[in-house]
């Protein structure tokens, strides 16, 4: 088995009656990029905080870089993290904020200056944090996470507030780090971004892990979608009813019907439509994206 950067075994966190995370089991192989996805309130940040020793699990256990999460001092010097958005002292400059953390972690102060340039804040490093835009704050948060030259980088919504070029820069940065052996555990709402970079995925819903494994296994396991467009729009309703009567799930989107089914059913659909007097202008099968799979998995079970 691959060396693991993160593992969770029955990890549970309860706040009184509310269960934020329930018996989570997952693992993240070292040196990979692992996406961490789930709707708001599904327990992502709680999980990340437990992995970083900020909150104690109610039960269960976990390891980070081979060390038990009950002893964060053993692994945190090798971990960089940005949790729930960047948090810094507003009255200090971006550079000075980094220097506070560099001093605390025992890293050379030159590393702070180097990282300010690396994340594109070189000319604004001396400005107070409170004057930064959301995107600049996010860049500073990423710089702070990179301070220890981490073996494991944990990023919670790193692209929030970034413009498209900023998002691309973060994507390239993550890929570059992974190419140099850093494990990246990244949560994001931009599922298309995660689909592009993540080799592994952990998916949460209502505090439970609903998928943990390779991204390609998740997508391969998802049924494709048959997209059919009738020649005449008036036939849409008739076509939907026809599909529903045949026992398939169907959705109406952008003047087309979308059927979740195996691609082998496409000729059958074509024939059924013809027999019902509906001419199809087009019919095709498409593989579900991560976003579509995510919605299917998180909504269907809700």
């Amino acid at each position: 088995m691959d060396k693991l950067a993160i593992s969770a075994t029955d990890l549970t966190k309860e706040y009184g009656e509310r269960t934020a995370l329930s018996h989570a089991n997952f693992s993240v192989p070292a040196g990979t990029i692992c996406g961490f996805v789930g709707p708001n309130g599904s327990g992502k940040t709680t999980t990340i905080r437990m992995l970083l020793g900020l909150i104690s699990p109610t039960s269960g256990t976990g390891t980070v870089l081979g060390e038990n999460i009950s002893q964060p001092e053993k692994y945190l010097p090798k971990v960089g993290a940005m949790i729930e958005g960047p948090a810094f002292y507003p009255a200090l400059s971006g550079l000075e904020n980094l220097k506070v953390l560099a001093t605390l972690g025992g890293f050379p102060l030159e590393r702070a200056e180097e990282l300010i340039g690396k994340v594109g804040l070189g000319d604004r490093g001396g400005s107070k944090f409170k004057t930064y835009s959301l995107g600049m704050k996010q860049r500073l948060g990423i710089a702070a996470a990179l301070l220890p030259n981490p073996e494991l980088l944990v990023l919670d919504e790193p692209t929030n507030g970034l413009d498209p070029s900023g998002i691309q820069e973060v994507r390239e940065l993550i890929r570059d780090l992974a190419n140099h052996g850093t494990t990246v555990f990244v949560s994001s709402h931009l599922l298309s971004e995660l689909e592009m970079i993540s080799e592994y995925l952990v998916m949460l819903r209502e505090g439970k892990v609903i998928f943990s494994g390779k991204t390609q296994d998740l997508l391969a396991g998802a049924e494709p979608i048959i997209v059919a467009v009738p020649e005449y729009e008036v036939d849409l309703t008739k076509l939907v009813k026809l599909i529903e009567d045949s026992g398939h799930a169907v959705a109406l989107r952008d003047g087309a019907v979308q059927v979740t089914s195996s691609k082998e059913w496409a000729p059958t659909l074509n024939r059924l439509a013809f027999e019902a007097g509906i001419t199809l202008a087009s019919i095709s099968t498409v593989q579900q994206t991560l976003e579509e799979t995510f919605f299917e998995m998180t909504e269907d079970e809700a």
Binding site: R49, L52, L54, L76, E84, F88, Y89, A91, L101, L104
Partner: protein
């Protein structure tokens, strides 16, 4: 531990905080010392509660620190505000999580913070004392106060004792601020509670109920700065303050160590 102290020092030495703190301390020190010397012949008095301090009294060895003693009581409030805000802001800014990722030992964070703020409090006291003494020398001639005994050995001993007492008093107030900051996790709530209790509520309670002053934490902290008073001896105030602060510190240290960092 030293890394925590140095990291905290980086925050404490920011220009806006330094300027506002030292301007406040300098202003208070200057104001009280000036009143003592410039209002020396005023019928309404030149000290607290209308008390009159004559030129003869000021020309004694302890006359040198008279202004310093007056401002000493207020340095505690300044320290309370700074200690409370520097501690509680880690929660309101959400920066505590960054600190704990870089230094997972919560006790090291807490003790390192305390040490750095202690050094800051010492600087405040030394600045206030130095400014008050310089001003005393500058104004002594105008008030016809002889400074001959101010450079005696006895005067130096009194200066040393007063500085130590005011520092201890300031530290007690500051520690109370830190305790409140950790309890309330909000600078405004911590400062408001601390100032309201020590400056107003304690005085009201002491005025309404006899013999309660010597049990009040704020009164005892101030009493240390004054080197003891008719209300309570210096040693008594030290002991009572130590008990209060040890109990409070133990409570917040346990809370700080065990509490989830969820913000």
């Amino acid at each position: 531990m030293i890394r925590v102290v140095r990291a905290e020092a980086r925050k404490l030495r920011r220009r806006s905080l330094l300027l506002s703190t030292f301007a406040t301390v300098g202003g208070l020190s200057g104001l009280f010392t000036t009143i003592v010397y410039l209002m020396i012949n005023s019928k309404s008095g030149n000290s607290r509660r209308g008390e009159r301090i004559s030129a003869l009294q000021l020309s004694q060895p302890d006359g040198l620190v008279y202004g310093f003693k007056l401002v000493g009581a207020f340095l505690g409030i300044v320290a309370l505000c700074i200690f409370a805000s520097q501690t509680a802001q880690e929660y309101t800014y959400g920066t505590l999580r960054n600190l704990l990722v870089r230094q997972p030992s919560r006790m090291k964070i807490l003790i390192g913070k305390f040490i750095s703020m202690k050094i800051y409090a010492l600087l405040i006291v030394l600045f206030a004392g130095g400014f008050s003494i310089a001003l005393s020398y500058a104004l002594a001639g105008h008030a016809k106060v002889s400074t001959a005994k101010w450079s005696s050995h006895a005067a130096l001993v009194i200066l040393g004792q007063t500085t130590l007492n005011i520092f201890l008093s300031t530290l007690c107030f500051g520690t109370l601020g830190m305790i409140l900051g950790l309890l309330f996790r909000s600078p405004i709530s911590a400062i408001a509670t601390g100032v309201l209790w020590t400056l107003i509520l304690e005085n009201i309670i002491s005025a309404l109920i006899a013999n309660t002053a010597k049990w009040m934490p704020g009164q005892n902290f101030s009493n240390i700065g004054e080197g003891g008073s008719a209300i309570a001896s210096y040693k008594y105030s030290l002991l009572i303050s130590l008990i209060y602060l040890a109990a409070g510190s133990t409570l917040v240290a346990i809370l700080f160590k065990r509490r989830d960092v969820a913000n």
